[in-house]
Amino acid sequence: MNKKKTILIRVLAVVVLLVIAAAMMVIGRGHTVYFDNVAMEYEGKTYANPYRVDVYVKEERAAKLKADERGMASWMGANFKMTLEITENKGDEPTTKEFKVKLPQSMDGVIINIPALLADLPEEAYLSEFVQTIVEEPEEEEPSDTETDTPVDDLGTDGFEGLGDI
C-alpha cells in the first residue's frame, strides 16, 4: 500500500512537471516578427503601401517604416499585439489602429505585410514565414576545454574567460 502511494506520488510529480513544461513551451515561445511596408499583389489586385507606418509593440516604438522598408520586434507567446500609426500620404494626419495577430507556434520568424493587414486580407495574404538565407561562415575553431598557450592559464585561471564575470 505504502509502495503504491510512493509510486503514485512520483507519477503525479512527473505528470505535473510535464504539464508545466508544456505550458512554458506555449507561453514562452518566442517569435521574431518582421513588418514589411511593401505594396503587394493578391488575387490580381495591388495593395499600395502607406507613406509611413510607425509600429508600436508593448507601448514602445519598434519600427518607423517608409515605403519598402522592414522593421522587426521580438515577441513572447502566440497572441501578438501591435499599434500602427499610419500616415497614408505625405503631410496627412496619422491614424492609429490596433491589431492582434495569432502567431503560428511552428514559426520562429514571422513576416507581416502591413498593406495586406490594413486591407483586411486573409491570414495567408499578410502572414508568411521568414526563412533565413544561409550565409557561408568561416569555420569556427574547435572549442578547447582548458588549454591555451597564454601563461595566465598555467596559473589556473582557465575558465575565467568563459565565465566572464563571476
Binding site: L17, R29, M76
Partner: protein, 378 residues
Amino acid sequence: MKNNTTTQMSFGKKLRRFLSDNPVPIMFIIICAVCIPVSGFSPGYLLNEIMTRMGRNTFLILCLLIPIMAGMGLNFGMTLGAMAGEIGLIFVADWQIYGIPGVVLAMIISIPISIVLGIFCGKVLNMAKGREMITSYIISFFINGVYQLVVLYMMGPIIPIKHSSIRLPRGYGIRNTVSLLNMRQCLDNLMSITIKGVKIPVLTFIIVGVLCLFFVWFKKTKLGQDMRAVGQDMEVARDAGINVERTRIISIVMSTVLAGFGMVIYIQNMGNLPTYTAHSQIGMFCIAALLIGGASVDHASIKNVFLGVILFHLMFIVAPSTGTKITGDSMIGEYFRVFVSYGVITVALTMYETKKRRIKSRAGQQLKADQKGDEADE
C-alpha cells in the same frame, strides 16, 4: 576586583576562541577592509555589485549544504548539476523559449539529467567512503568529458538542434557561446526595486529565501534527521536502522538537482552561456565562498553561505582595482583573486584536518590521564 579579572579573563578567552574558530572569515574581513579604501569604489557601487552577485550565486552555494549535512563533505560533484542546467538552457535556446518560461523549462529539463547524474555520483561516492571530496572532484572531470562528447558531437546529428545560430558552422556541435539575450536577467528584473541606485533583485531573493526555509524545514523531517545521523556516525546510523547508502545517494541527488537550478539562475543573470567553460570552475568558486563564510568540511549553515558570498565577491570586486592601484598592473589583481580562491580552500581544508587531529590527540591524552588516575586510585 577578582570578579572583574575573571570576567576579563573569560572575555579574553572568548575572544581567543572566537578568533581561533573563525580565522578564514576574519582574514577576509581584514583583506576587504584594506582593499576597499584602496580600490576607490563608492559604497553605492559596491552594494550594487554585491546585490547582483548575491542573487547570481547564493542558490548555487546553498546546494552544497545537504551533502555536508550527510557527512559527505564539500560536493565538488555539483558541477554535474551545473552541466545538466546548461543542457536545459541549450535546448531552451534552440526551441526559442523566452523569459521566465524559458528559465522554468530549462530547470525542468535539467531535473531528470541531474537525477541520473546524482544517482551515478552517489553510488560511486558510496564505494569511496571517506574520500568523497577527491572522488567527486574527479567524477566532475569525467562527466565533463561526457558532456563535451554530447554537446560537441551528438548535438546535431543525434540530438536535433534546429537553429544555425547555436550550432557550429560545420553542422554539428554547439558554438562556444550561446546567446540567451531573450532571457537575460528576466528573474532579476521582475519585481526588482531600486533604492538610491542599488538594484535589488527581489524575486531572486525570494527564491533563495524559499530554499533557505526549505532547508530549515528539511532538517526537521525524518530524511533530514537521517542525513544528520549518517553525517555524525555511519555505523551508529546503520545500527539505528537507517539505510545509510540510500540516504547518502538522496543527499547527492538533491544537491545535484539544486545545482542545476542554481546554474540556470546564474546563467540567466549573465545573459550568455559559455558552453564549454561555464561549469568548469563553478564548484571551486562556490566551495571557496562557503569556506570563506566560515563553513568547514563537516559543518555549514545558511549564515556561512551569505557571509561567504558577501566576503568572497567583495574581494573579487575590489582586488583587481586594488592590485592596479598598488602595483600599476591590473593582472596582479586578477592573479590575486584567483590564487586567493584556491588558497582559501587549501587553508580551510588544512585547518580542518589539523583541528580534527588536535581534538583526537586531546581525547587520547585525556584517556591516558584518566587511566593513570584510575591506576593511582587502585
